[in-house]
Assembly symmetry: C2
Homo-oligomer: 192 residues x 2
């Protein structure tokens, strides 16, 4: 059975290579540049090999999104754990979120802008996505305020961050005042 195991291992390794390469290419040149031909060339296999791992380009985007969700959750938790007051934690969370979006635009797009074939806010939502939302929830529950459902508050806060992230990156908002916008948002939304 050792041969089969080796093959399985190699196959899994190649799958990771595909996802990593797609992500790298997307970060370098944008998702438009991630074509099945280019991707196949970079991993040094022919196009159809991609389709033996994923149903199509959409699923590859989805795989990058899941990888990104795990990283984002970790980044958010790391940023908030260093702070000692609820208010400071929320500020750190907001900055960490926007930083992640700015530093990993392609991953952020895969998560929240593109169609990766993933389901959100459902029971069958993949675990990494649920966990990323949980990372937000953990921090934001403390400042939701009395009588406000933490989930609802988290959704609103998250939507605001998402709006800032996407509008800034799309050139709809000038990046200069980002700090002021975060401060205003946290000041108003978070209950002390």
């Amino acid at each position: 059975m050792s041969v089969q195991e080796r093959k399985q291992r190699e196959r899994a390794e190649r799958e990771r290579l595909i996802v990593a390469t797609a992500r790298e290419l997307a970060e370098q040149q944008g998702w438009d540049a991630v074509t099945t031909r280019r991707l196949a060339e970079r991993i040094e296999y022919s196009q159809p090999v991609l389709y033996s791992h994923f149903r199509g380009k959409r699923e590859i985007i989805g795989a990058v999104a899941l990888e990104g969700a795990t990283e984002m959750a970790a980044a958010l938790r790391a940023a908030t754990s260093a702070e000692h007051t609820p208010r400071a934690r929320v500020t750190a969370l907001a900055h960490a979120y926007l930083d992640f979006a700015e530093r990993n635009p392609a991953v952020y797009d895969a998560l929240f802008q593109l169609d990766g074939g993933l389901t959100y806010a459902q029971e069958d939502t993949p675990e990494p996505l649920k966990d990323a939302f949980a990372a937000l929830l953990e921090c934001l529950t403390d400042v939701a305020g009395d009588g406000i459902h933490p989930g609802l508050f988290t959704e609103v806060f998250w939507a605001s961050l998402h709006g800032l992230a996407t509008l800034t990156r799309a050139g709809r908002l000038l990046p200069g005042d980002a700090g002021q916008r975060v401060r205003l948002l946290v000041d108003r939304l978070a209950v002390a």
Copy 2:
């Protein structure tokens, strides 16, 4: 000169037809379905005719966006003008904004998600875009709060609405609690 005038008129008319058809097709079947071939077929001209009006598909998207911006500004002003307190105006504004996004998803995408080749937040930003932002600003200035720049406040409020609109439509938020989310947002962000 009458002949030339007639031709100019017909040409302008055809341009309107292109934009209207693109918009209609996008609303019916999504922007992916708006291909130059299909668009040409619908207006009953050949493909190259499109390129005598617009540089390319991107400019067509931009034209739809500008048309949409004008409509959105009008819709926001209409909604807010019926209310008599600042707080009620802001609530009406938020609902009108999200309604517009929900009822005209393709136009909303052209405005804020897709690349229509337009510049935002600059001096050479097209007038309709500036005016749409102005419509938000007019209403939100009253609730920005002391010492807060109305423009900054408007950006943050707008980003929050944009986040809610896009995440909801992309399936990232369930549409059920939309009303509660708006109330929470207005309650916290708007200073009475």
